[in-house]
Every structure is written in structure tokens, then in C-alpha cells.
């Protein structure tokens, strides 16, 4: 961190930075997520790589000025590949004392704090839990503090709009955004266009917000504040092509549509609202033009049942929820396993048992996904590693569900669902199709006659003459599918269901390390959204010459066929997970490897430093 950066005007030399972490924090009504989203857009347009971390309270609108009502949005962007939302904050925009109180521990020493002093009233200071005004005592000595009365300046900027005080003050976030745009030399045009579009029916609000945005920007340009930093972050070296930003929810929805398209099927999506899974319902309900029917069911159980019914009738049944909802769906998923119908179950994991922390992230549903049903009920489990990766994972989920006539559980999490990153937009036409063939020939038809290779049964849908049949959860005779209580038949059917899922290992890629060799001292094995921090941590220790490799699983069940052999090539296997060690248990059980855990269950993503520290400790041990 440079000691100072005096700036008079925009042409002044900016401090060059490889990457920067900015966090906007304020009341949950302050529009921080919106602000962050716009900053993300402008940053992507500027050619930086980036990753975001939206973090918001579970309350819809917590009392103003309280620490539990703080909503924040963090963005890490840079001229190099960005794989995490960043460990420590370089610039914190604190809209009130509570935001400062909550986020201060995450600010890098020497980092910049932009504080809206207009909100630092005695009442707000006290409400945030500060004994005295932190701007006036020694609390912030280790940081560079930029004190601005954003509230007053915003009021001034929008006074010509004729808005009342309350509406005028709601433009504060755009004033702040304008200032931050100036700090990083960001173009305002995309945001102006967006505001004009959003408030097409309220041009006064559009004008006021644009005025605030411009005023914030002009303030940065002219304030001549000695402590007002400005930076340049060069465009990242990125593979050529057309890009957009994408959230996990979007990529997942589009991937499911792409997958269904490749299978030649229409989608019936049955779901029940739950945080953080709801975005998928919202996005898919706007994609009817692609053959998507969405059904907001009366509960989680009806949601999954409707999807299974749809699969029985020849659609691709999809359901989505978070852990507690998946728990309710368990019995029905067992029926889909028993009747061998395709089904995609998306689990946007959240933190904690029962209701837990609905808006916080965790990856603690791995046991639930792999083992969490009554009896021997195997299914396919996949995990997405990042927002854009959701697209490919979703296509893969549809492919496996339809080819093998099986439910597939796709694990994502609250972090992935809400975070956004730039995405090299794929050409959907280049994804190989995997068209489904329904059985139509009555000759020799029985519902449980199987394909010899995949062990998948016939998919014969109602409406097809001559294939009338009955299926259900009672054990079926191998082949004919008639009810059977025969002991040997149950053994055979159980073995077959297991063999079918196990056999999928032959239809998925062998595991290769993301980074590093196929043997060495430590294999750091991860899955899901820990990809970014593990990747960076491993690259840091590798830069020091250590034989550490990063192995990241997309296929959790069945596991890649070479995984056991691959892990055996390392002295140690280290598994960082946002749970108490679930993948560790599975790896130990499957491969008898002495895998060790690196556990974090705080509802917050791993920091690079935490994983790097764990690896280094094991290198020394």
C-alpha cells in the first residue's frame, strides 16, 4: 500500500494495482447489492477479471443502523485471473457506523475507508455498538479514512429533481458509486443506461440517481483531497471471445435449458421458494419460450413429486431447493430412484442444520446428497465450482439423468448462486446432443428391461399405445416390473441399481489435477465453491517450489474411476471444506487414504490465507 496518493484531477497519474478488493456496506435498505452489481458490470466492461461476494442479512429489512441489518457486496477485480472474492478489503465504503463496525475486521491495514459522516449521528454510533465516534478516536488510526457527508452531498446533487427527502436520500448509493467509479477510472455509461431503463416509468428517479452518480464522480475529480486515493487496474489477460457477467443462478438456469435442449426434452420445473435457491425458480419462470413449464408448488414435497410425475410423462422433471427442502424431498427422491426415472435435483446449500443461516454459505449437504435417503438409494451427485461452472454442470446433470434414468443431485451453494463472474459465453450449438429416445415398440416391452451397457431401463411414456404399464415404489421384478416380494429379486434389483450408478464412473472423465503433478507431497482435494481460494492457495505454495497439487471434484458420486490411484500418489491428502469434514469421510471410506480435513463453518467463504496456512503447516509437519 502506498503511503499517499494526492490527486487533483482525472489526468493525474493513478496508482497501478494488480488487484483490488472493494466492499460496499450499508443498511439492507441502502441498495448495496444494486450498487455492487453495477460496479461489477462497469468493472467487467473495463476488462478486469473479477469475482463478487454478496453478503446480506436474512431479515428483509432489519431495523436501520443495526449491525445485524448490514448488507454488503464485495468485489475483487484485477489485471490477473481472479478466483476468489478476496481475503482482505482494500476499500471499504461504509454507509453508516454499523457497516463500519461489522466490516472493519476485514479491512486490510492501511486500507481505505470511505465513511458517510452524515450517518455518524450519536444515535447511530451507539446503535452500532461503538462507545464513542470511531471517526474521532483512535479506532481507525491504522487506516486511511475519507470522511464525506454523502447524505448532504446527495441531497444537494438531487435537489433539482423535486424529490422528497426520503426519496432523495435513497440516491446515496449512486453518489457513492460515482465516487468509486472515479477512484478506478470507471465508465459511467452502462450504469446511466441501466438507470434509464430501470426507471423508464419514473424519469424523475432516473434523473436523480444519475445526478447523484455524476456528483459523486465529480466530487472525486475535484475534491483535491490528499487522502483520496485513485488507482488504475489494467485489463486482465483473458482468453479471447465474447464475455458477460453471470451469476450462479443464471448459469444454472441456462445450463438446464441447454441440457434439456440437447436431450430433446421440455422442462417441468417444480419448486418451492427457499433462500438461496429461489433465483432458479425466478429465472426459469421467464424462460417459457424455451419449453420450460414452472410450477410453484404448495411445499417441497409437492415440488419434487410434480417433477417426478413430469418425468414419468416424458418431460425432464427438475426440482430445486436448499438443504432443509431437500430433506423433505427425500422420500420422493427415493421413489425416483426405485422407479428409475430421470430427475435433476438442485441443492443450493446454505449454512447450518434446520433453518441454520439461510443467507450464509456452507457445503455441508454432501452426506445428505450421497447418503441421505432411506435404504440403499444411490444417485448421481455433481458439484459446481463457480457461477459460470454451473452451466456445464447443469448440462452434465441432464445428460446423466436421462442417459441412466436416474435422479442427479447437483450441489451448488449460496455463495455460487448469488456471486457473479465474467464468463466466456459458450456456443450452445457446439455442445454435443444426447437425444433421448422414448420406447415406442410394444414388441417385447417390459418397463424394467434394461440397456445392457448403461443398465438404464426403458423410458415409455403415457400416451404411447401398447406400452401401458404400472410403476411404483414397491420392489419390482427384474425385467417385467411387476410387484415382487421375492428375496433373490430384491437382492438383484438392489445390486443392479448400485451397479448402474457405479458404472457411470466409466462415462465421466478421469480426474486430473487442476494444478500441479499427478504425484507429490500434498494433494489438496476440494469440491464446489472452495475452488477459488484453494486454487490461489496452492499456486502460492507452488510458487515456493512445493510439490502440492490441487484436485477439484465435479463428480462427487460416483467418483472418477482413477481417483483412488491418483490420491495414492501423494504423501498427504488435505481436504478444505466448508463443513466438518464430509468429503474427507467419503474419501477415507472409499479409498482408505489418510485424508485430513481443513474445516470452516462460519457461513463465510474460505480466505486464501486460511487454506495456504493449512497447507504450509502440513508441509512442515
Amino acid at each position: 500500500m502506498a503511503s499517499s496518493a494526492a490527486v487533483a484531477e482525472i489526468s493525474a497519474p493513478r496508482e497501478a494495482r494488480e488487484s483490488v478488493v472493494v466492499r460496499f456496506a450499508g443498511d439492507s435498505g441502502d441498495g448495496m447489492q444494486l450498487t455492487g452489481g453495477q460496479f461489477t458490470q462497469a468493472t467487467a466492461l473495463a476488462g478486469n477479471d473479477l469475482a463478487t461476494f454478496p453478503d446480506f442479512p436474512a431479515e428483509i429489512r432489519a431495523p436501520t443502523g443495526t449491525t445485524f441489518g448490514v448488507s454488503s457486496f464485495q468485489i475483487n477485480f484485477g489485471s490477473r485471473r481472479i478466483k476468489t472474492s478476496g481475503d482482505a478489503i482494500d476499500v471499504l465504503v461504509a454507509m453508516n457506523p454499523a457497516a463500519l463496525k461489522v466490516e472493519l475486521p476485514n479491512v486490510r491495514e492501511g486500507g481505505v475507508i470511505v465513511a458517510d459522516v452524515g450517518s455518524f449521528s450519536e444515535r447511530n454510533i451507539k446503535r452500532a455498538g461503538f462507545a464513542a465516534n470511531p471517526l474521532e478516536d483512535k479506532t481507525l488510526d491504522a487506516y486511511r479514512v475519507v470522511e464525506i457527508d454523502v447524505s448532504a452531498l446527495t441531497m444537494e446533487a438531487v435537489k433539482e429533481s423535486g424529490l422528497g427527502k426520503k426519496d432523495a436520500l435513497r440516491c446515496k448509493n449512486f453518489w457513492t458509486l460515482g465516487l468509486v467509479y472515479w477512484m478506478y477510472g470507471r465508465d459511467r455509461k452502462a450504469t446511466v443506461d441501466w438507470l434509464n431503463g430501470k426507471f423508464a416509468k419514473r424519469p424523475d428517479l432516473a434523473a436523480a440517481n444519475i445526478a447523484a452518480l455524476n456528483a459523486g464522480h465529480a466530487f472525486g475529480e475535484t475534491a483535491e483531497l490528499d487522502d483520496m486515493p485513485s488507482y488504475s487496474v489494467a485489463a486482465a489477460e483473458i482468453a479471447p471471445g465474447q464475455y458477460r457477467t453471470v451469476s450462479g443462478g443464471e448459469a444454472l438456469a441456462w445450463g438446464l435449458v441447454a441440457g434439456a435442449n440437447k436431450a430433446g426434452l421440455e422442462i417441468m420445473f417444480g419448486s418451492y421458494p427457499i433462500t438461496p435457491a429461489s433465483p432458479l425458480l425466478h429465472i426459469l419462470s421467464r424462460l417459457k419460450q424455451f419449453g420450460v413449464v414452472t410450477f410453484q408448488a404448495e411445499d417441497e414435497i409437492a415440488a419434487v413429486c410434480s417433477a417426478i410425475g413430469a418425468s414419468f410423462a416424458g418431460h425432464l422433471g427438475i426440482t430445486s431447493s436448499s438443504g432443509p427442502g431437500i430433506a423433505l424431498k427425500g422420500e420422493a427422491i427415493g421413489l425416483a430412484i426405485s422407479t428409475e426415472l430421470p430427475l435433476v435435483v438442485v441443492n443450493s446449500q446454505r449454512a447450518g442444520p434446520s433453518t441454520g443461516l439461510p443467507t450464509k454459505t456452507e457445503q455441508s449437504d454432501l452426506y445428505q446428497a450421497v447418503y441421505g435417503r432411506n435404504a440403499d438409494a444411490p444417485l448421481v451427485v455433481l458439484a459446481s465450482r463457480s457461477p459460470s461452472d454451473c452451466f456445464e454442470t447443469a448440462v452434465e446433470a441432464v445428460r446423466l439423468a436421462t442417459k441412466y434414468m436416474t435422479p442427479v443431485m447437483l450441489l451448488t451453494d449460496g455463495y455460487i448462486a448469488n456471486a457473479a463472474e465474467p464468463w466466456l459465453i459458450p456456443d450452445v450449438d457446439k455442445i454435443p446432443p444426447f437425444n433421448v429416445t422414448f420406447r415406442t415398440d410394444p414388441e417385447g416391452f417390459h418397463p424394467f428391461v434394461r440397456d445392457e451397457k448403461t443398465l438404464a431401463r426403458n423410458w415409455a411414456v403415457p400416451g404411447t399405445p401398447g406400452l401401458e404399464h404400472r410403476i411404483g415404489g414397491i420392489e419390482k421384478a427384474y425385467g417385467s416390473g411387476h410387484i415382487s416380494y421375492d428375496a433373490a429379486n430384491h437382492q438383484k434389483m438392489t445390486d443392479t441399481r448400485k451397479a448402474k450408478i457405479d458404472g457411470i464412473a466409466n462415462d465421466i472423465p478421469e480426474q486430473i489435477p487442476e494444478q500441479g503433478e499427478s504425484s507429490g507431497k500434498i494433494a489438496v482435494v476440494g469440491w464446489g465453491s472452495t475452488f477459488g481460494p484453494i486454487d490461489r492457495a496452492v499456486s502460492n505454495v507452488r510458487a515456493d517450489g512445493h510439490a502440492v497439487s490441487h484436485i477439484h471434484l465435479r463428480h462427487i458420486w460416483p467418483m472418477p474411476r482413477n481417483l483412488g490411484a491418483l490420491l495414492a500418489n501423494f504423501d498427504k491428502v488435505l481436504v478444505p471444506e466448508m463443513n466438518t469434514g464430509q468429503l474427507v469421510t467419503v474419501l477415507r471410506a472409499e479409498y482408505l487414504v489418510p485424508a485430513e480435513r481443513v474445516s470452516k463453518v462460519s457461513g463465510q467463504p474460505f480466505k486464501i490465507g486460511e487454506i495456504e496456512g493449512a497447507i504450509r503447516a502440513h508441509l512442515e509437519a
Binding site: L45, Q289, I301, A302, C305, L335, T339
Partner: protein, 338 residues
């Protein structure tokens, strides 16, 4: 293999599976009546789907030579909704008992009815849990002695018909398992109704609740204890066809009167209007101790079906974007080229 002959008969709807209900179970009569009705309503095996939950009644699909899905306890209406949304051309029958549909599945039944999904929903009500060996059910009367209520149940029972009317059902009817004349008529009416049709069938569980409906089913009392309602017809009953229902003056309830007694004339007898939900509610509310049990179509008042609404919205969206292209969608909004 099922080769469809030109003129179908009841046999064409019977599977080769051995029926495994207790000898004497009322379900046999219902199965027989339905298999007989199917050809008469022009049903075809390939377009027909039977969906059930869990319980004795829920074994029904295995015995119908149509498509069938024996699902999980209470959830049949949810499966049926998904099937209907995927293929609205299918003719879907949902079959369950009183426990399946009104206890564990009460929620799903409520929502299928109020959404008005085009389904025929048959509740085989025997006021007892059969498959789990005789516990009291949500329709059991207060005082029902069962393995789980040895001193008698203390719970007030739910009325399937009143529940359905309260849920917003547009078709509610009642019949009796053994009535091989009336039951097919009710199947036909339920089938002809577009939207959710709720048919409650009073069914006898010979093992755990034998004779529970004898108070109005037994031939010796049936004429006096039942009133068969028909749209536009006076609600007459009794061996002599001289008894009837009339609105009690000054009250919102029916009373049973005798024509020729106390100045009551034929004109005083109420005419059934099946499109009147209040009348249906009064009929379903009649206390069986003092008034006859109303059978027949209590309520029929069609409204747009759920799947029509959902699928017409989807069709509109498709019509407006005939060239929907996923590659285009992915490239909509802000993009940039590196």
C-alpha cells in the same frame, strides 16, 4: 401385450395381476364399476393414467390396464399435477383412501382442488386405516375404538365433501361402493367435468370397520337414510317417495319433511341446483343422525382449469418469440469482447 380391439370392454381395462384386497372388500366393487365404465366414456388405455399414494385403495393402478403410478403416501395429487402439466391430453385418475388423501395428503388435495387441475380424484372413504391395520383415520367418528385409540378417538372427523368445497373444488360428488348403478353415473359425471372432480365413495372395510356405513347403506334403511340429488329435481327420498328436503323457514339449513303432513306439499321440496355452492355446502353438512346422507353430484360449476392457464401462458410466450434461441439469450444484456 395389450392389443386394442375396436370396441373395448371392461376386460380390456383389467390387468393380469392378481387382485390382493381382502375378500369382500368394497374396493372390488369400485374396481369392477370403473372397469365397466371406462369403455362407456370412450377411455383408451394408452391415454389413461391412474395415480395413487399409499394404502389399500392405492393399489388400484396395478389392476387397471392403463398407465399407472403408485407413488408415495399422500402425494398422488402432486404427481398428477406434474403429469398433467407435461401432457394435458392424458386422462388422469387419482385414487386414494381417507387417510392418504385427507391426512398425510390433505395439503396436496387442497391445492389440486383450488388450482382446479383436470383430474378425477376418487377418495375411498372407509373411516379407518386399513393397510396399517386398523387405526382411526381423519374421517373416523368420535369414539372410534382402534389399536391407537383403545378408549375411543376424541378427534372431530373431517368431511371430505366439506373440505373439498372449502378448498374451492368445482365438482364434488358422493356415491357408495356397492351401488353398481349410481357409481358408474358418478364416474361419468366426474370424467365429463373439466377441472378437478372430487368423488367421495363410501367404501366398506370388511376387516377393520365392517358396516360403518350400514346406517344409511343397508338396503333395509337406504331409502329413508339417503337422498339422491339430481340437478333440477326436487330432493325427494323415502320408501314411499313422499319425504323431501326443504329449507327450514328462517334458517340456513335443510329439514326433512313429509309431503302431505303438516301442510307440506310437493312444491315445498327444494330443487337441487348443483351450481349453487351454498346449497352443496348445506347438503354436505347434514347431520346423518337426523337427516339423510346426500349422494350424487352435490356441486358442479366449471371454471378454467389450471393446466389451461399455465400452458396458454407458455404458448403466448412462445408465439411472441418464435425464434427463441439460447445462444441469443446468453448474449443478451451487456457483453464485451476480449
Amino acid at each position: 401385450m395389450n392389443v386394442v380391439p375396436e370396441q373395448l370392454t371392461a376386460k380390456d381395462f383389467a390387468t393380469d395381476q392378481e387382485v390382493r384386497w381382502c375378500p369382500g372388500c368394497g374396493d372390488y366393487a369400485i374396481l369392477k364399476a370403473l372397469q365397466r365404465t371406462m369403455p362407456e366414456i370412450g377411455a383408451t388405455p394408452e391415454k389413461t393414467v391412474f395415480v395413487s399414494g399409499i394404502g389399500c385403495a392405492a393399489r388400484f393402478p396395478y389392476y387397471m390396464e392403463t398407465y399407472g403410478f403408485h407413488t408415495i403416501h399422500g402425494r398422488a395429487p402432486a404427481f398428477a399435477t406434474g403429469i398433467k402439466l407435461s401432457n394435458p391430453d392424458l386422462d388422469i385418475w387419482v385414487v386414494g383412501g381417507d387417510g392418504d388423501m385427507l391426512s398425510i395428503g390433505g395439503n396436496h388435495l387442497l391445492h389440486a382442488l383450488r388450482r382446479n387441475v383436470d383430474l378425477q380424484i376418487l377418495i375411498f372413504n372407509n373411516e379407518i386405516y386399513g393397510l396399517t391395520k386398523g387405526q382411526y383415520s381423519p374421517t373416523s367418528r368420535i369414539g372410534t375404538r382402534s389399536p391407537s385409540t383403545p378408549q375411543g378417538s376424541v378427534e372431530a372427523p373431517v368431511s371430505a365433501a366439506l373440505f373439498a368445497l372449502g378448498s374451492g373444488a368445482r365438482f364434488v360428488a358422493r356415491s357408495v361402493d356397492t351401488d353398481q348403478k349410481h357409481l358408474p353415473v358418478m364416474f361419468k359425471r366426474a370424467h365429463a367435468h373439466r377441472g378437478a372432480s372430487l368423488l367421495e365413495i363410501f367404501q366398506n372395510c370388511i376387516v377393520y370397520n365392517d358396516g360403518v356405513f350400514d346406517g344409511f347403506k343397508d338396503p333395509s334403511v337406504a331409502a329413508d337414510r339417503q337422498v339422491r340429488v339430481e340437478h333440477g329435481q326436487p330432493m325427494i327420498f323415502g320408501k314411499e317417495k313422499n319425504r323431501g328436503l326443504r329449507l327450514r323457514p328462517g334458517a340456513f339449513e335443510f329439514e326433512a319433511v313429509t309431503i302431505g303432513e303438516n301442510g307440506v306439499t310437493a312444491e315445498d321440496i327444494a330443487i337441487h341446483d348443483e351450481t349453487n355452492r351454498v346449497m352443496a355446502t348445506l347438503l354436505a353438512s347434514m347431520d346423518p343422525d337426523t337427516l339423510p346422507v346426500a349422494l350424487g353430484v352435490l356441486y358442479c360449476n366449471p371454471a378454467p382449469t389450471y393446466e389451461t392457464g399455465v400452458l396458454s401462458q407458455a404458448a403466448d410466450v412462445r408465439a411472441k418469440s418464435p425464434n427463441a434461441n439460447l445462444n441469443k439469450l446468453l448474449r443478451s444484456g451487456y457483453t464485451w469482447t476480449v
